[in-house]
């Protein structure tokens, strides 16, 4: 008989011996690697991978270096380091921030991403649990529509979605959260349904016998169990929403609200020549917060990607 092992078991938790054995076995399997540290090729591979890593980092460093050069020198010689002639200090940054209103755009992006992710997690986990537990024609249709919506490319609904949201006046950072909830619901509901199915009914029945109503059961029992899935979903949705260009560019009132990708594209806009200096500086400002965030939450991000891929 397969025993249910909650994902939330921590190292050092006191467990019954048979469950502990299962957990140990699971840990042993997942930590397995082909042990080649002793092989003579090991050093060689480390060197090869180090070279590839450098190639991976160079593009970002190149943008950083160029952001300190005078704009006229950037496209001509992007691979030269700044000299005393070409160095301009932080002028490109000042210039770019003023031109596109970077901090406002950054604030909008932050508000839209965090707001949408919170709303998606809350609403879709509830909907996912409801769909799994209430088995009716309606919930089945809803579920299959969600799966279907994951396949449909954005261009299919691009024009009509922008008209619909115009009609409903959703062109503000708060309004766009509703659009993201609707368009992001497919993946989120699908993943939450997949996980909610594996929660044993007995746990919820026990909560009910102890006198919980469905709302209490959800918040006190179901939601904590759904936490690992919630983290995966929020990582995937946040990566998408933060970097999304097309949807906000069509839906937001661009004269008032910009997000970071829109602001950067705006720098390019029109047919005139691009201020490469400001462009480089803004690219750096767009990348740095992401790298800092990544450094702190790498483990969750990578686990989230794996979980999302396996279920999606």
């Amino acid at each position: 008989m397969a025993k249910y092992i909650p994902e939330t078991i921590q190292k050092g938790d006191l467990l019954p011996p048979d469950v502990q054995a299962l957990v140990d076995e699971k840990a042993k399997k997942s930590s397995y690697t082909y042990n080649a540290r002793s092989s003579p090729y090991s050093m060689l591979w480390t060197v090869v991978l180090s070279i590839i890593s450098v190639i991976y980092v160079v593009p970002v460093l190149l943008v950083l270096v160029n952001s300190f050069k005078k704009k006229a020198y950037i496209s001509r010689n992007p691979f030269n380091l700044p000299t005393s002639d070409t160095f301009v200090g932080l002028e490109n940054y000042k210039n770019g921030i003023e031109k596109i209103g970077f901090f406002q755009a950054f604030g909008n992006s932050l508000l839209i991403t965090i707001g949408s992710v919170i709303v998606i997690i809350l609403c879709c986990s509830m909907a996912g649990w409801y769909i799994t537990r209430v088995n009716s024609i309606f919930t089945k249709c809803f579920y299959y529509l969600c799966v279907f919506s994951m396949i449909v490319p954005f261009q299919m609904v691009m024009y009509t979605l922008s008209k619909t949201s115009d009609a409903l006046h959703l062109g503000t950072p708060w309004g766009i959260i509703i659009v993201y909830l609707g368009f992001g619901a497919g993946l989120a509901v699908f993943m939450f349904c997949g996980f909610a199915k594996s929660i044993p009914l007995e746990i919820e029945e026990a909560a009910m016998i102890d006198g919980c109503n469905p709302i209490q059961t959800y918040f006190k029992v179901v939601m904590p169990i759904l936490k690992p899935t919630a983290i995966s979903v929020s990582i995937l949705e946040a990566m998408w929403i933060w970097n999304d260009y097309l949807l906000p560019s069509l839906i937001l009132d661009k004269t008032k609200y910009k997000t970071v990708p829109i602001a950067i594209q705006y720098l390019k806009g029109g047919y005139g020549s691009v201020d490469m200096g400001a462009m480089m500086a803004m690219l750096v400002l767009a990348i740095v917060p992401i790298i800092i965030f990544y450094a702190f939450s790498q483990k969750y991000i990578i686990d989230g990607v794996v979980a999302g891929a396996v279920k999606g």
């Binding site: 590839i52 299919m156 909830l181 990708p261």
Partner: protein, 285 residues
Amino acid sequence: MSKKELRPYFLLFALPTFIAFLIGFVVPFGLGIYLSFCKFTTVNDAVPVGFANYLAVFDKNIDNGEFIHALWYTTLFAIVSVITINFFGFCIAMLLTKGIRGTNVFRTVFFMPNLIGGIVLGYIWQLILNGILARFDLTLTFSEVYGFWGLIILMNWQQIGYMMIIYIAGIQNVPPELIEAAKIDGATGRQVLGHVILPMVMPSITICTFLTLTNSFKLFDQNLALTNGLPGSKSELLALNIYNTFYGRVGFEGVGQAKAVVFSLIVGALAIAQLAATHTKEVQQ
């Protein structure tokens, strides 16, 4: 929680998501299909015209063969990028499961580009590739061939890390007993890879091919930032071509919507074919 007790709570649990889903997907989708059979400039002045828009999509005199060109360009792009990304992603995943020194650092570095948005990535690579091509007095927008390989390089840089992560998870799930047994029976390293590891990570390969395939077909931001379809509209992928039909040409909204429906059918067909392929493989195992 049983069905009877939960059902009255529909308003709280499912309705908010359902309404947003109607606004964000169901209504635009239905309206989109209807509008693909209409001539319109705004939603309110739509006049049904039957299949005229669909005929226009494939009519060389009306669309200048742009959609057909974009379709071939995208298909070729998808084939090349699926092969290269999965090949390099799998190779790096194999190396990173050998317990080499610095594995965690490498994994972190290779995954990093995935977090950077398509627009930003496009401009980073535009700088680099134009810098290299400038030595030969060329630019990315000189010919669609440069745009093509530029996009391939960009997508490889971005997505190898993502696929690597999925392959690593797949390779680590291969039971060590199987590999030991094969080695005891005298299998060489190459035989272990071909006859034990590859068949066992088939599910990961299916997932990664599916992801890279749909990503390549749906690619928009990178294309917009790197070349914006130049020269002419020769380096447009399907998504950008549809966008430009809507917002670049007046009076072509209906044709654009018809293109979008055709595009969805292509992506849908690919997804279904992929699911069917996965299914047969699962039966075999």
